[in-house]
């Protein structure tokens, strides 16, 4: 059976957090949609809170400590990423941004990403469009069209509200599955197969 690797990143801070709640539902929707295509999802869910010190270590010294190196290499090998952050000060949380700041440049190139955010008020829902989407576009990720924002009230809304959120989650999961199914692992590791010297020198004075 074909396997696709999904890494889910949640930047929620409390336990349980609504970001994690949303992240789990997006993950489940993605797994179902991949399953419909006969693909098994291999999921790793990362709570950034547990990596917070390691992320800061990497930020100030570039030395990856603790579990971080393993997480970063899973991110680099993912066929799809689900990234969910709480909204802090009208944007993604600092921890969320810092984590993606220490992801190797180029690691997200052409990697499908599904963005999600949670907040106390629905008024911040556009954070997906003005903060998360541009950041992942900069990283050359393929951000799926549907992002999912869940405000506190969505978790307790009546049937209609719940249906809207559910539909959005399912649609987002389908879109991520669609891209992840076709995602090709990047070319060889440059440390395994270097560009030959003659090619490196092409166009240069010799």
């Amino acid at each position: 059976m074909t396997v696709r690797r999904i890494v889910t990143v949640s930047a929620g801070l409390s336990t349980p957090s609504s970001s994690r709640l949303l992240a789990d539902r997006l993950t489940a929707a993605t797994e179902r949609a991949l399953g419909d295509r006969g693909i098994r999802a291999q999921v790793r869910t990362v709570e950034l809170r547990e990596l917070a010190h390691d992320v800061m270590n990497a930020m100030v010294t570039q030395v990856p400590t603790g579990e971080l190196p393993g997480v970063l290499s899973d991110v680099a090998e993912a066929d799809g990423i689900i990234a969910v952050t709480p909204v802090f000060n009208a944007s993604y949380s600092g921890l969320f941004k810092s984590f993606f700041d220490v992801v190797e440049q180029g690691a997200l190139d052409s990697v499908p990403v599904l963005v999600g955010a949670t907040g106390g008020s629905p008024r911040h829902s556009l954070v997906l469009e003005h903060a998360l989407r541009p950041m992942f576009s900069y990283a050359r990720a393929l951000v799926v069209p549907t992002g999912v924002y869940a405000a506190s009230e969505d978790w307790g809304s009546g049937e209609e509200g719940a249906r809207e959120l559910n539909e959005r989650i399912e649609r987002a999961g389908r879109q991520l599955a669609l891209l992840a199914a076709d995602h090709e692992q990047r070319a060889e590791d440059p440390y395994d197969e270097p560009v030959a010297f003659a090619d490196l020198m092409s166009g240069l004075g010799t």
């Binding site: 030395v63 603790g66 440059p190 010297f197 020198m201």
Partner: protein
């Protein structure tokens, strides 16, 4: 196997006294440290090159020329020479001149430099660092080997009928190491020329260093310079020692906690676990350094970073005594044991001259037979 030290040349406040050395004091301290390195029996002293505060060594050949005059044996090197923002013509001349002054006790380590603004200050663009390093070194390599060079490239004005003077001592260019911590292109470059490859692994986990060195070794063999295990590898190291390991930790911790490079980051304990930094007894340093061979294979040069983070000169000199008296003699013996006979030492002027003479001799014989 060569053992030595490399200095970044940072001017850093001593966090235990709040005192910052002057540039003059730091420069004089670097020289004293280099002289001490020879005195305690080390093989190599290498200086960094920087063009921004808080670093002092902007003029490596001035410093190394002075040290050459006051030493007899130690090899003078760089860590690193900026092959990007320096004019390769000037590198060719400066270091050939130094070679004559030092009677051949000179080699260089090429590096790109990672300080963004230095590039535009010298009229370049950091985004072109790799192609610039490749083109500049290619020209440097020719300038030392061809008496008259005609050259045209992307990053420097063309040369017609140019001869770099003086010519390298005995017609033998200085040996070159290429230093890189993450670029496969530089490992490939070192392998192509059959030059040395130095990984300054002091901030890196072994798994990463291993990949890059393995790549260099494989490509060294590919380009026909010898077997992979004969490639010329150098490694960094970073140590602080006291007879009693608890004393070493207690004394070094404030320097670690405030060091510009890792202060505010991982704890001393995390850092010593994840990187080659060793803070403890001389025996711990010996044990740790010996693991490098297990990880990366037999190698040719081990350089330690000893004088940074505001450590006072007196402390650094004590560290060098420990390194020279208690650590390096044991390492020499241990590294020599089980070292396969076909693994070469790092090339020196004497060994390259002997190889050249043997080569010339063979050519003459061939001509006679023809």
């Amino acid at each position: 196997m060569q053992f030595g030290i490399f200095s970044v040349g940072d001017v850093t406040t001593d966090p235990t006294t709040g005192r910052t050395p002057t540039e003059h004091e730091r420069i004089k301290a670097m020289i004293e440290i280099a002289l001490k390195a020879e005195e305690v029996g080390l093989d190599v002293f290498a200086t960094g090159e920087h063009h921004n505060p808080p670093f002092v060594p902007s003029s490596p050949t001035t410093m190394l020329g002075y040290i050459a005059a006051r030493t007899d044996r130690i090899v003078l090197s760089t860590a690193t020479t900026l092959i990007t923002t320096n004019d390769p013509v000037k590198i060719a001349e400066d270091y050939a001149f130094l070679q004559h002054i030092a009677d051949g006790r000179v080699d260089l380590m090429m590096g790109r430099g990672n300080t963004g603004p230095v590039y535009p200050w010298f009229g370049y663009d950091i985004r072109e660092g790799i192609p610039m390093a490749l083109e500049h070194y290619n020209l440097l390599h020719r300038l030392w080997r061809e008496d008259v060079v005609n050259w045209e490239g992307k990053f420097r004005t063309p040369l017609q009928g140019f001869t770099a003077t003086p010519r390298p001592l005995d017609g033998v260019p200085p040996f070159v190491w290429h230093g890189s911590i993450r670029s496969p292109e530089i490992a490939e470059q070192a392998a192509y020329y059959g030059d040395g490859f130095f990984h300054n692994n002091i901030f890196w986990p072994a798994t990463h260093t291993k990949k890059l060195i393995a790549l260099y070794r494989r490509r060294y063999e590919h380009y026909g310079h010898g077997k992979a295990d004969q490639a010329i590898v150098g490694l960094g190291g970073q140590v602080f020692m006291r007879k009693n390991s608890q004393d070493a930790v207690r004394e070094f911790r404030p320097y670690f906690d405030h060091a510009p490079v890792y202060g505010g980051g991982p704890s001393l304990e995390e850092f010593t676990r994840e990187t080659p930094l060793t803070v403890g007894s001389p025996q711990q340093v010996i044990d740790r350094t010996l693991t490098f061979r297990e990880m990366f294979g037999d190698y040719q040069r081990q350089l330690f970073l000893m004088d940074h983070a505001g450590l006072p000169l007196k402390t650094v000199l004590e560290q060098l005594d420990l390194l020279g008296e208690e650590v390096v003699p044991v390492l020499r013996k241990e590294f020599a044991a089980n070292r396969p006979a076909h693994v070469p030492d790092a090339p020196t002027h004497a060994s390259m001259l002997a190889a050249k003479r043997a080569g010339d001799h063979n050519e003459e014989n061939t001509e006679v037979r023809e």
